[in-house]
């Protein structure tokens, strides 16, 4: 008994020792910044001088800041477009691949490859693809007499550029869905067929419920990712041109922190967004209780 107690307590501190890198990392790079960021949001802070307390001034300013509202609106609209469409595409492709037709590995690679492309290269590539004069899209359709919108220059269409790019990169999510689909017991489909279910009914009543935890995971991750969208719009639409239609939240935060030297204000923005994400995540989880179906294993 005593030897086991000794072992248990020795295990205890060795366990902590092994985990030490992360404990330090967590404190330094997550806890400290989170708390510090909250503190900074109550100050005026340009990195050159120490922060000075200003109370709620930053938040008051945010409330009236039109650019902030615009960037939030843009980000939310983008997320509303990109997250569901990517999910539909990813699930659809996964279902197609799950049919186990010949050459599945080849098709899987084709769909997955785009998601490996570095953000910057994607931005550059699609600046070229969406170019309204010589770009792949407009050029191809011009040849058959269809005139496509000015993707890069028209404020009404610029967000669609970003959304389409997001859908193009759904390969990673597709792989996750594919794995989820392969976990669905065939017996469920057989039972459904016995009841006379056709494709759409099978999808709605067997497939989707069975992969609903995966859908939830991807949607939550998608929302978090959408909020942090920075590299592609920064490259393709500097300053959020045209007419600030693609000015995303992360871009405005970056500009405030590093171009305008207003770190306090940027921190306030960051926390507002964080609270919004937490709220969205909690809402998703709440909604999921009704719709998400967890199997035992």
């Amino acid at each position: 008994m005593r030897k086991e107690e000794k072992r248990a307590s020795r295990d205890g501190w060795i366990g902590v020792l092994f985990a030490l890198p992360w404990i330090i990392g967590f404190l330094l790079f997550t806890s400290y910044p989170l708390i510090a960021s909250l503190c900074y949001s109550f100050t005026n802070y340009s990195v050159l001088r120490p922060p000075s307390y200003v109370g709620l001034a930053n938040f008051k300013e945010l409330a009236g800041d039109e650019v902030f509202r615009k960037s939030m609106g843009n980000t939310i609209l983008y997320a509303v477009g990109a997250v569901p469409l990517s999910a539909v595409m990813a699930i659809g492709l996964a279902m197609l691949l799950n049919m186990k037709v010949k050459g599945m590995a080849f098709y899987r690679t084709m769909f997955f490859l785009p998601s490996l492309v570095p953000q910057i290269a994607m931005g550059t590539l699609f600046l070229w693809v969406f170019n309204s004069d010589y770009g792949l899209l407009n050029n191809m359709f011009k040849a058959v007499g269809i005139s496509l919108p000015n993707w890069l220059g028209d404020p009404l269409w610029s967000k669609w550029t970003l959304i389409l790019i997001a859908v193009w990169g759904c390969g990673q999510a597709m792989i996750i869905y594919l794995a989820g689909l392969q976990d669905v017991p065939v017996s469920l489909y057989e039972a459904a067929e016995l009841d006379g279910a056709k494709l759409w009914a099978k999808t709605r009543h067997v497939t989707l419920p069975m992969i609903s935890p995966v859908i939830l995971f991807n949607v939550v991750m998608g929302i978090i990712g959408a909020v942090q969208t920075f590299a592609i719009p920064q490259l393709m639409f500097p300053g959020g041109a045209p007419a600030r239609s693609t000015y995303m939240f992360a871009m405005y935060l970056y500009d405030n922190a590093f171009q305008n030297q207003r770190m306090g204000y940027a921190s306030a923005m960051g926390w507002v967004m964080f609270v919004i994400i937490l709220a969205l995540t909690l809402i998703s989880l709440k909604l999921s209780e009704k719709h998400v179906h967890y199997e035992g294993g």
Partner: protein
């Protein structure tokens, strides 16, 4: 499955994969064209001549024409940061995940839950104070803010590895302990060799994340000589009056190439890794 259903699936797959692959194909095609052919309507897929010379042209460091964009230097910088980061990630995350998975200590599971929660904190929120921290340390302008944090672990990799470690039967650890092995020895000699696939996944994901990183280098790197490929590509694109799209596409291809090569060499590991990450 009915023949009709299969045929329809085939057609859909072919059409869709073409659509997905087209931008990449277009990029390749443009990269070897002479500049006039890039502007043709309707778009010309196969160039009249294959100007492979566009590639060396794209990476050449030519003072007057291209401005100061030494691609090879950027590639070396990116490689340096990437290698250091991957090393740090593999070392720290395996240790930490092992602790979460196979060692007992007070508060372990609670802390693991907190670890998962940190994945929900968007980077913009912590960006400013982290930058301040590094500025206070005097590390801004160096590569350290980019790779040092990797030596302290990351939530996603910890999660992945911990799930994997838990699938290894406890009997193996117990057998080792009966043979007199210490915890450290058990870790290195028994568990780690078994964890090769999972560690490979962590290494792969870290490699990709670092190679593609744009915001990190943007914030912390000051001297143009130290920039990474992401910044190089961006500078390339903004530096020109009339953008030479063929050279730009060639440069993009070069930036994408290493990731593609790594992917093809490690396909199975990749796919499996992503699949397990989403499911557990």
């Amino acid at each position: 499955m009915s023949l009709n259903r299969k045929a329809a699936a085939h057609i859909a797959l072919v059409v869709l994969s073409l659509i997905f692959f087209m931008p990449l194909l277009w990029m390749l095609s443009t990269s070897v064209k002479p500049i006039e052919e890039t502007m043709k309507t309707p778009p010309q897929w196969i160039p009249s001549q294959f100007l492979w010379g566009n590639y060396p042209k794209a990476i050449e460091y030519r003072k007057e024409e291209l401005g100061y964009i030494p691609f090879l230097v950027y590639a070396r910088n990116t490689l340096l940061v990437t290698v250091l980061t991957v090393m740090g990630a593999v070392i720290s995350n395996t240790l930490v995940a092992y602790s979460f998975a196979r060692m007992k200590w007070k508060g372990r599971d609670l802390f693991f839950g907190v670890t998962l929660a940190t994945m929900m904190v968007p980077f913009p929120v912590t960006m400013v104070p982290t930058f301040s921290l590094f500025k206070w340390l005097g590390w801004v302008g160096t590569y350290r803010p980019l790779w040092v944090p990797a030596f302290f672990g990351g939530a996603f990799s910890i999660f992945l590895l911990r799930q994997f470690f838990r699938t290894i039967p406890m009997e193996l650890s117990e057998a080792a302990k009966i043979d007199g092995a210490s915890e450290v020895q058990t870790f290195f000699d028994v568990i780690l060799p078994l964890a090769r696939p999972a560690v490979a996944v962590v290494a792969l994901f870290t490699f990709m994340g670092t190679w593609n990183d744009f915001l990190g280098p943007l914030i912390y790197l000051v001297d143009q000589n130290t920039f990474t490929l992401s910044q190089g590509l961006q500078a390339y694109q903004t530096q020109h009056g009339g953008t030479p799209w063929n050279l730009l596409m060639a440069a993009s291809c070069l930036v994408i190439l290493p990731v593609m090569v790594v992917f093809f060499l490690a396909q199975k590991v990749f796919i499996q890794g992503i699949a397990t990450s989403g499911l557990k």
